[in-house]
Symmetry: C2
Subunit: 337 residues, 2 copies
Amino acid sequence: MTRSKPSSVTIRDVARQAKVSVATVSRYINRAAPVSSEVAARVQAAMANLKFVPHASAQRLATHKTNALGLLVGSLHDFFSPMFTGIEGVTNAAGFDLLISSSHQKELPLTLGPHNTDGLLVFWDSLSQASLRHAYEQAFPIVLIHQSPPEGLAIPCVTVENQAASRRLVDHLIEAHGRRRIVFLRGPADNEDSWRRETGYRQALDAHGLPFDQRLVTAGDYDRAVAEASIGRLLKAGVEFDAVFAADDDTAVGALAALRAAGRQVPEEVSVAGFDDQRISAYVSPPLTTVRAPTEEVGRQAAQQLVNLVRHKPAEPLILLPTELVIRRSCGCAGEA
Amino acid sequence: MTRSKPSSVTIRDVARQAKVSVATVSRYINRAAPVSSEVAARVQAAMANLKFVPHASAQRLATHKTNALGLLVGSLHDFFSPMFTGIEGVTNAAGFDLLISSSHQKELPLTLGPHNTDGLLVFWDSLSQASLRHAYEQAFPIVLIHQSPPEGLAIPCVTVENQAASRRLVDHLIEAHGRRRIVFLRGPADNEDSWRRETGYRQALDAHGLPFDQRLVTAGDYDRAVAEASIGRLLKAGVEFDAVFAADDDTAVGALAALRAAGRQVPEEVSVAGFDDQRISAYVSPPLTTVRAPTEEVGRQAAQQLVNLVRHKPAEPLILLPTELVIRRSCGCAGEA
DNA sequence: CTGTTAGCGCCTTCAT
DNA sequence: ATGAAGGCGCTAACAG
């Protein structure tokens, strides 16, 4: 490999070839001011001819805009792909570069920040509250994904409706399938979605006069292996249950595995349900009853809010995307699949 | 939201406070030349005091280095997460920003290029050969992932061993389970891995004196739904087969679904095997026999090669990571899971 | 070891 | 509608 040329074609080359000043070329590029159509044509031709591409750093230095957006993520789950697709689609369409970092430090200064981005998309498990507060005080544009802002900070947030859907799902387990001892497999302790899902679960229990049993609520951590171990433990301890509501589909899949290993029939002996409707969920056996979360749309909306913010246009403080029950076979229904 | 401050603290402010010249501060920051410890301390203090963060664009403009690496991907499969984890780990450790784009244009000029990155990681389905050639001629650092360089271009490539593992897997289907009519579910036509896997499949057939039947090779496209439809079609057409070797696990899962829908027992009536060992594969029913591909390591290695290239250090022309057979139950074995 | 001074490539007043 | 010129923040010779 050889070294790349220190200098490529610049705006000056274009100007020379088009026989205009660099200012005019700049105007044409940025549509910052009208340019006579004659000149426009010449500039256009020169740019194409020279294959001119504006040097991002120079533009940034001059404008004090990075023209880039950052995405901060913590651990990477399977739903990251659709989420990313949504985000990338709008950032790209809006003409921003997308920087991404999964640095687990959670604290500032980060690899992503005001020095290299105009704004940040931050995922629930990627940044500490203190760091968020700090960024907010610097008036640095941020939008939160699957996480509410800290008390008092007006940082836009986009997430999905959790509670009502969970409530409906657990209602279904109880009403349609007569389940009465339903395990809830929690997500990580600092995940709000999981808390809301748990709230829906408890509401359903209450509404049907079913007692809340602490032993039925155990760790899932959005992790198949953890869920599998938890269910295994319950089984071993002889805790009776006839259904499992998992905080996400990954967790539900872990539960399925544990149940199968123990020879428990799903859904005949125990119903299983999850949350998210990930790509895999329709394909496990039995196909998973779950709640569909519009993950890609979450990504799109979040990115759109950030673009708005960066452009000093109004942004929604909170976007709650609707979710939808999807009944398949793991709950005991005949199912769609 | 308010607007961010147009100007922050610059190197000049630091210089003034430390009572030195900007050049000295710059030297200290970049360790470009020795600085007396006294001065170093003052500069250090001033930087901390002022919370100085170098303006990336200014550095980039001055040095002609973007200090950023780009990742170009096409469609996003589930194995993207581990892959990304590997990549991000090393780019981050090496001090580079990571830009990512899934723009489907495949042609230059791209959103990622010499204007905003020092080098590119390009995934097999993300860039046309012509574009690759062009970039190569500009001496722009590139590392290919799961794709060989076009004829004559010395572009480093990292991928996994496909053929021998496929051969072993199909051998196993034939020898251990007596399968003789084995379907191969192809990946996309332009995917090299799929071709190599198919070659391994044909070698195994040959080695056992089994005839190659064109009707048994059909589209999988690394897509569950496509695979499901293909197997469904075969079943409907009355084509006899006793095993399915899918070009990847996603595809295998689609096959599993089609077989189940048709009431065919896996593995009793038909063996199924895939490739990759994705996160889900141990959890489907029955657990999938497959070939483990070290996806995260592929990401790490590719990123490392690119870092080397960018730093004008030698890079391996080809890195072929070893794969490993993982026998579970879908082939007919008792299995691990 | 340290200071001075040109640029890097582009944008943006300010004139014209 | 267009050109000239200053500057964005930093690095990198070149002196000293």
